[in-house]
Symmetry: C3
Subunit: 272 residues, 3 copies
């Protein structure tokens, strides 16, 4: 796999401390031509699965051969291994704590390497910041074209955190909210494929809390301002939204991560 | 117009979702050498006019031939057109919802193009994220030097949102706060030119809420710490500030967007 | 000193205004190949010492010849001088208000230059935004290899703000919290060196508020989840943290900048 020279960063570091910049300094010290792109540094502290799912959504828009670093690493300095996951066209670097499960689950992998070769690391390794001392320098070396199999030993038992999948229950498909975006849109774990496999006809009901939606809209303004709707969002996931409003605070109720979303076939319409 | 290879991004996406990074991935996939600069992603959701006015303030500090993408796009997927606005030395890309009015009002334009040529877009176009699927790839192509007139059809009826201008009323010039900056400074729509045209002498009173200021200061520390002042800020707009404090919360009162600011000539000094 | 072509930015501007982007536009207009890295723009408004200490922590991870711009500048437009501080391998640019004291205190300097040569500035200089009008263009010229001694006149009396150092008091080393990071970790001014000089044996007590810690841990998960610990953090500073929690709000108490931290030798263990 040829490198694109691009490195993306996703962490729970926030933007007020110098931590992210330290990683960038380390990368540019090794590969002065690296192009670094922040995905986000605002993942809630310690949210391993959310980080993986954000990287999974974003990485495919980058050129093949891009290196993606994910650092949400509450076990730093302990026994968890530092790893690189290879897929057919991208590199992923971070702690072996389940972070890359969403990638491995959906894309498979062509090799997972336990990072062991210290000559690709910083000279001094702190016990609290492997993002700077291990992951950033390894990312820089990969972006320069270093053979990933030189970075350590192949392993086949990475930690996997199973993502909650929607399940069938009688006439219903029961999913849940997995992300509330900046606009208050409720992104669920129900994909376009789940929906089309589940639905025989086009008719359906979607229920979240006390709210029932009777169709899948195409755009936010398919309904009047302030009204709720369901649509397949830009990541191919079922999304509950309010035109010009925040679904996460609709009608004085709070909806968030874990809130159940039920899709019912037309033949068994839910009525309140 | 020669391209600078630079692309700026201004959106209401925030920084916690992967949306901005997706746009950057798309851009770098088409133009790996593009230099991408964030202006801000913290425009309040749906604030079309504010976005245009921020781009208007910032764009002129970039080299000629820079591409500026603005995405505050509540009408995405509906009938609003995707457009490119050309001025004598910069490119602007975004939805035709009035966003670029401040540019067109003050700079004019040398052509507005309704983006229609799908070969410059992503292969799949979602109905909810044209920032990623249309604007980002078009920006990348423009940054590579594609002739903008190949991107679609010229139009002459863009949506224009009229910015509130200060108005004369008897002896007063009545303007308003158009932006509260990070420091709590109240930036008004009264320019240095408005002031100098309006004022015959140098004497004046500036009134906001119950506060009266009797001169235009040069720097924030022309007054003691904690005291209010008026000055012409770095964008040539009249600004109300507190030395080492926040004018937006002065003396227990809240001042914000839309708050009236009255300038009165010396011959008719306001006294409380 | 050869330039790395990299420029870092640290300010109190936040990310919602176009101010940072204006600086980047100015830099790229002068040096289109400059690599710009944000350290942070979220320093609390006017926090001069905090800015210097953040730059001090981060700069050493960048290649030699990097230009570091710091703009926390409440005295802008007044008598304070614009300066460049040279060390043996980095350049620092900003206001002469004490901002670079932490660098000068720990690294010394090889020259401090009062910026006076207006041909390296913007054509028009506002009285409120020297970050854009003086520091950004000077940084761009330095990144192009301009001899720093051409930028103005050497001075030897920069403003120095003395950082609070831990002090010995009987059997105690008394330091204080100087930074609360994004994770709520309390970073103190007690370095690894202070500790090792102070401690004869390995036994010690660390006291903060009503909390007493009896050892220096290596990683956050050396203690059970929710439990407090002390460790030497990734910047070689003593840090008080909670495994998977926020030390800044431990047990309903608030700890923050200025909170005293007392290290006592083993021979005089503190017991509550």
């Amino acid at each position: 796999m040829t490198t694109s020279g691009i490195i993306t960063l996703t962490t729970d570091f926030g933007e007020s401390d110098p931590y992210v910049a330290m990683m960038k300094g380390v990368i540019l010290s090794i590969n002065p031509a690296a192009r670094i792109v922040d995905i986000t540094h605002q993942v809630p502290a310690g949210s391993i699965q959310k980080t993986g799912s954000i990287i999974k959504e974003a990485y495919k828009y980058f050129p093949a051969g891009t290196v993606h670093v994910g650092v949400v690493d509450p076990g730093v300095g302990g026994k968890r291994r530092p790893i690189t996951v290879l897929t057919s066209n991208h590199f992923f670097i971070g702690p072996d704590n389940g972070l890359f499960s969403p990638i491995i689950e959906t894309q498979g992998h062509t090799g997972i390497i336990h990072l062991k070769e210290k000559r690709y690391w910083m000279n001094k390794i702190s016990s609290t910041f492997h993002g700077r001392d291990i992951f950033a320098p390894v990312a820089a070396h990969l972006s320069l074209g270093v053979n990933p199999f030189l970075l350590g030993e192949k392993i086949d038992n990475p930690i996997i955190l199973v993502s909650p999948l929607p399940r069938k229950k009688n006439n219903d498909l029961v999913g849940e909210v997995i992300r509330v975006d900046h606009f208050g849109n409720l992104v669920t774990n129900i994909t376009r494929e789940h929906l089309s496999l589940f639905l025989k006809s086009k008719g359906l009901n979607i229920k979240i809390g006390s709210l029932i939606l009777k169709k899948i809209s195409t755009t936010y303004n398919d309904v009047p301002e302030g009204q709720p709707l369901a649509l397949i969002g830009s990541s191919n996931l079922l999304e509950i939204a309010i035109n010009m409003g925040r679904a996460s605070n609709y009608l004085g109720r709070e909806y968030g991560i874990g809130t159940k979303v039920i899709v019912r076939r037309h033949s068994a319409i839910i009525e309140l």
